[in-house]
Each structure stands twice: as C-alpha cells, then as structure tokens.
C-alpha cells in the first residue's frame, strides 16, 4: 500500500490533496498518516481524493522532524507500505530524508510527475535549468512531490479515521515562539504571484503591486535586491537563494530577470513580464511581455482584471 504523510496543522492545504491524489494514481490502496488536532470530519474528506483510511496521532504536534520520522516509520512498517509520499515542503524536506535512512528506502526528492513506464521519476535539477529521471533501487520507495505538480482529483467519499499513539517518542526541539503574518497567502503555495523589483523605485510604491495581487487573489513576492535593501521582507524574496516557486501565473514588474532570479521562478506555468527596458533578459523567459512604465501599466492591468472579475460574476 501507499502511505501519504499529510500536514494538517493549518487545516488541509492543496498540497495535501495533491499528495493523496498522487498516491491514488500510483495504483494501490492509499492510507494517510497525519498528526495534531485537525477535526476528524476534516481529515475524513481526504477519502474524497482516494484515501481508504486516515491514521492520526493526536499526541504529536509536528514541530520535531525526528519525532515525526519515528511516527511515519512505525505506521509504514506496521502496514507494509511499499511507497511513502510527502509534499516537498518544509516538513517533507525535514522528514523524508530521515525516513530514507531509517527505512533504508531510496528517496526521490522534488518529484514533478508520476513514475514513467520503467518506474523512474522526473525531478528538476540545476535549479530548474534541467530535468532528470531518478530510479529507486530499494524495494521501499519514498517520493516527495513538488507542490503544484499535479491537480487534485476527487475519486471517492469520506473515509474512516483511526487514532494511534505511543510510537513517536518525545520531541528534542522546543518551540519558543511562532510568528505568522495574518491574512497573507503563503508564497510557496500560491497559484498566482505578483512580484516586483528595483524598477518600482521605492518601498512606498508597493501599494499598486498589492492592489494588483488583491484583484487576482495572488501572493506578493520580490527580487533579491529589493529584499536585501529592506524594501520588502526576506520571506518574499524569490530566486536562487530565496524561495523557489512554481505558480500557475507569475507576473514580474520591474525585474530584469537575472539568471539567479529565473532559477527561482522558471517552474511557473505562465510568466508575464512588465519592464521599461525592451532588452531586459526576462522577456526571453516570458510568455507575455509588456514594454512600459510600471506606474502606468500596473493600475491599468488591475482595472482590467477587476472588470474581468466583475463580468464573471
């Protein structure tokens, strides 16, 4: 059977539905392991995406990767899992490698598709500049799935919940404080992203970027120089050394498109570039380009989107 680890600490995100759908498409029975205090009603909805059962350990808060690893390993071994699926997010990146050592199971990190006919799995390499096919040589396999790689699909109905405890040991990591800005869409999960760079000339001009993002329901992001000089917070920096994202739509305003920036966004499905400089390298990576002044183009685009949204209702 396929075991899927789902992070339900902040409710169920799209990544949860993607990983369960992925597990289902691997063609075997899917069991979900999760932890924390999400309601059983909520967890049972994972059945709609193909889970036959959700196992939950209420005693584990999920802050310690070592503890989570023990939990997932014990459930995997107890149920004879042949494949274990994670989302390639912060928890997947911490737990899947540990589990690989614990179970002596090969890990395909950052999978972007279902296995090919020979069982090998496609991943991005060289910061998205190339792709590779990885083969797992061990009998048990671990796959961490890059968010936004497959679409969630409903295939069933609510499933049963089973409680477990006592297999995870204690946590070595102690949480002192947690800071989460309210009301923002977390960048790595966003399907639509509006991003801006030095072309905006100053932090006081970000209002129009936020307005555009709001009209689309998009997250906001920025280039490295803008984060480095403190115009925008570091967690908004996308690129080689910041966050790598792969939204459906990436709108880049006043960003020239240096190779290091492209490395963080070249997984985007559609790229729109707004720049005054017709020679900006970003246009080569774009699907749609607008040569123009951000201060004129962005408000017009926001108005056009608001008009479109109103016509859809």
């Amino acid at each position: 059977m396929v075991l899927v680890y789902v992070n339900s600490a902040n409710g169920l995100s799209k990544a949860a539905f993607e990983t369960v759908t992925y597990g289902k498409k691997l063609g075997d029975q899917v069991v979900v392991i999760t932890n924390g205090s999400a309601s059983s009603d909520l967890l049972s909805t994972l059945g709609e995406y193909g889970a036959s059962k959700v196992i939950v350990d209420r005693s584990v808060d999920g802050e310690d990767a070592q503890q989570l690893t023990r939990l997932v390993a014990s459930v995997a071994q107890g149920n004879g899992a042949s494949t274990i699926v994670f989302s390639h997010d912060l928890i997947g990146k911490a737990v899947a490698p540990r589990l690989s050592v614990r179970l002596n199971a090969g890990l395909v990190s950052g999978a972007v598709a279902l296995p090919e006919g020979d069982g090998s799995i496609k991943v991005n390499v060289f910061s998205g500049k190339a792709m590779g096919l990885v083969k797992v040589n061990s009998s048990t396999k671990i796959i961490s799935l890059l968010p936004n790689s497959i679409q969630p699909e409903k295939s069933g109905s609510a499933c049963a919940i089973e409680e477990t405890s006592g297999n995870a040991g204690s946590a070595a990591i102690k949480v002192i404080s947690t800071k989460k800005p309210e009301g923002e869409i977390p960048l790595p999960e966003a399907e639509l992203v509006v991003s801006a760079g030095r072309g905006l000339k100053g932090p006081e001009n970000w209002g129009m970027i936020e307005d555009l993002a709001k009209s689309l329901g998009a997250a906001t992001a920025c280039s490295r120089p803008v984060a480095d000089i403190g115009w925008r917070p570091h967690h908004e920096h996308v690129g080689q050394t910041g966050v790598a994202i792969r939204p459906n739509l990436y709108i880049a305003v006043g960003i020239s498109g240096a190779i290091q920036h492209l490395a963080g966004v070249n997984g985007s499905k559609v790229i729109v570039v707004v720049n005054t400089d017709a020679e900006a390298p970003f246009f080569k990576a774009a699907d749609y380009g607008i040569i123009g002044d951000a201060f004129e183009v962005v408000p017009k685009l926001t108005a056009a989107i608001n008009k479109f949204k109103a016509s859809q209702n």
Partner: protein, 246 residues
Amino acid sequence: MKILVCISKSPDTTSKIAFTDGNTKFDENGVQYIVNPYDEWYALVRALEIKEAGGGQVTIITVGNAADEAVIRKALAIGADEAVRIDADPKDAHYTAMQIANYAKSNGFDLVLTGKETINYNGSQVGGMIAEAMDLPFVSLATKLDVNGSTLTLEREIVGGVQVVEVSTPAVVSCAKGMAEQRIPNMRGIMAARTKPLQVVAPVAVEELTSFVSYAMPNAKSAVKMISPDNMDELVTLLHNEAKVI
C-alpha cells in the same frame, strides 16, 4: 565548540548546463566549480562566527575525488581550520550522508551544519539523512543560530512565517539565507589555506539507493507574445482564454 560543516561543490550559477554520453552525464566541459553557496555563505560563515565568539574548531568535510581539492582550499581560505575529504564519488544524497555521518560519529562534533540544498541537485536531503544516521535532532532551514553553552537557539522558516526553537547539542542544522553574510577570502587566508591539514579518508561501503537514469533540457519556451501597454484587456483575455490561468 567542535563544528563540522558539510561542503558540496556545485557549478558556478552562470554555467551552461548540458549533458553528454546520451544524456546520462553532466557535461563538465568548461564548467567552473564553486563551493555550493548555501554551504559557504550560510553554514561555513556562521560556523566561523561562532568559533570567533566562543572558541572551538571548524572542520569542513566533503565527499569527492582529488579534483575537488580546489573547492576545499577555497573553504579553508575563508577560515575553516581543517578539512576532510572522503575519497569517493558522491553517488547520491544517501551515500554522501552516510559517509559524513560515519566520520562525524567517531569524531565527536557538537554541531553539524549543512546548506539548505545544493544548487545542482536541489534535493535538501543530506542534512536530514546525517541527523537520522547519527540519531540526532535536525533543525532544517534555519535562518538564525545562536549558541549558549550546550543550548542552540534557532530561527527557522515555517509555512507562512518564522519560528524560534531551542535544542541541545549535539544537533544537525541546515542553513538558509539570513544566517550569515558571504565572506570574501583575503590573501592571508588564501596563503594559509595551502598548508592547513587536509585529511583523505577511505569511504565505507554504502548501497546506492537511487540513481539518475538520464537528464533532459526543459522544452524550449515559445516566443514571448508582446502586448501593448494600452491594451491590458487583451492581456486579461489571453490569460483567461489562451493560458487558462485566471
């Protein structure tokens, strides 16, 4: 504090990426190798700052062949005290991690640091694997690390925010942006690096759990469609009807 910093080589960020031998091997022709930026800028520099503030020793370790010693010397020039090279091809992340864990276990380190990922394989695997092999706690994607006796206080990224956590040494930490600032080696450092100890260690037998079958370049992008700045309605229509993203 005895700190082990794991170093990987990676192609310079501006390298042309190409493959040879029927797309089964990375084409190293003309490629300049650097210390993987996350390992260098964040893990190594923070280790040096901790040593400068509270004393101790910084050892760097890499799994690679003799040709990788140029990259090792660069890390020594930045300020590491000594280097260890496990004399083997780093076959996959698991193989690499098991080699490092094997060395670390028998040499009593308080802290093992890695970068958050390499810029060539982007797997984010080695740190967690070392931690599991050593049965140690692992704090991933730390953006800040302070040492107070045997207690580490760290800031780490969580979904949509940051978190402050504490953990006792020994521990494994993967380092992300914010941890430290890049240091440029000075001439004295470069001279000193030539004579710093570099120990070559034979690898232990580890099975290869994964292997790359082949590589491919992404499909070429179709040419950009230019839109007049006065016609944003057209862009919205294209995004809706053609690209189908809104």
